[in-house]
């Protein structure tokens, strides 16, 4: 099959454009519908550093409590996993699966696959399972909801603070850092690996 690496087809209107050469930080838009066709961001080394940092913050966010409360000397706190289990323990149980995927499983798979892909890319190599992991990444992308969970944790604090003494756990601080890393950097630049790593040996 013939391929045309010099062309880009817009995913939103199917219009063909010539692939422009962009400087770092630039982006190209579709001439017909205005969608972003291509953008360049961080290089592999920077992405790797951020992914490894995200992995560490992810672990902290999951191990330490997100919110704690105190009332008349009684103390209780919860982790992200605790919130999933709380949903699983009631009539609304099936939704616990969605919550678990959105705030624990999907982010873990995303961060782990990114670290794996980038560690090899850093050495100029194509990681084993490159294609399946890139596909996985593409399909998981819409279902990662760490940023929504962070907002939900803040809303929960406000919701309870009128009747209880609420404290913010280390887990929430780690989530905040994780959100910055994921939104600001990792989420947008991964597709460029297809081009950068295409010809590399495995």
């Amino acid at each position: 099959m013939r391929t045309y690496p010099g062309l880009i087809a817009c995913v939103n209107c199917d219009t063909l454009s010539e692939r422009p050469t962009l400087a770092r930080g630039e982006q190209a838009a579709c001439g017909r519908c205005g969608s972003v066709l291509l953008r360049t961001g961080l290089n592999v080394q920077h992405l790797l550093a951020l992914s490894l940092a995200a992995a560490i913050l992810y672990i902290i966010a999951n191990v330490f409590p997100v919110i704690g409360i105190t009332l008349n000397g009684a103390h209780h706190e919860t982790t992200l996993l605790g919130s999933v289990l709380s949903m699983a323990d009631a009539s609304a149980a099936p939704i616990a699966v969605v919550v678990a995927l959105a705030i624990i499983v999907v982010p873990a798979l995303q961060i782990a696959s990114l670290c794996w892909l980038l560690l090899f890319a850093q050495a100029g190599r194509r990681a084993p399972l490159f294609n399946p992991l890139m596909h996985l990444w593409e399909h998981l992308y819409p279902w990662s909801m760490v940023e929504v969970a962070l907002l939900a944790a803040l809303v929960s604090v406000v919701k309870m603070k009128s009747i209880l003494h609420v404290h913010i756990g280390i887990g929430m601080w780690a989530m905040a850092g994780l959100v910055v890393l994921l939104i600001g950097t990792v989420h947008r630049d991964v597709r460029s690996l297809w081009v950068e790593i295409a010809g590399a040996a495995s």
């Binding site: 062309l7 880009i8 995913v11 919860t78 919130s83 609304a92 616990a96």
Partner: protein, 209 residues
Amino acid sequence: MKALARAAEAGFIGCRVCGLVCEAGGDDAQCPRCDAEIRSRKPYSLSRTWAFLIAGIIAYVPANVLPVMHTRSLGDSHGGTDNTIMSGLIDFWKNGSQGIAALIFVASIVIPSTKIVALAALLVNAQRRAPSGSAQLVRLYRMLELVGYWSMLDVLVVALVTAVVKFRGLSEAEPRIGILYFGLVVVLTMLATLSFDPRLLWDRRARRG
């Protein structure tokens, strides 16, 4: 960026996963770069989007009518209160957190309902023989993709609050069935958005088939 030919008309297909532009071949061709199946359009896009959307509309009613969370104040041995999405929002407003109330209003009321209406409008448009493809419609679709998942906010709030408000094993807040339907609305409308192919908004069909 001068030529505005469209890939399908020129006999090309842009791979949905890796973006490589390939020559259009058989229906089950694979992308030579990433091994994904390459198709000119998402398969059964309109039927799938309608199916997810209608299921989402059905779940929308119990999601807003049924209680999403049950709370008991401490020492209160009888009853407790059932909260719906709307009553939780009103509580925030009354307790002086108007900002949070507005935030939840957008995430839980405005986004899901707008999404349902917007998806229906996109579908109706894409089904016309000569759809009015435009940058505005694409922007609307991009918006649905970007903001849709924020509606999960209320589900996660219920999960966190019910997990933390527990004393000596006695739970003072429990999730209720409404939150399941609410979560379903979010998931179903997200699936509908993912199934929709915005390129259909630009395709002229010789005859509807």
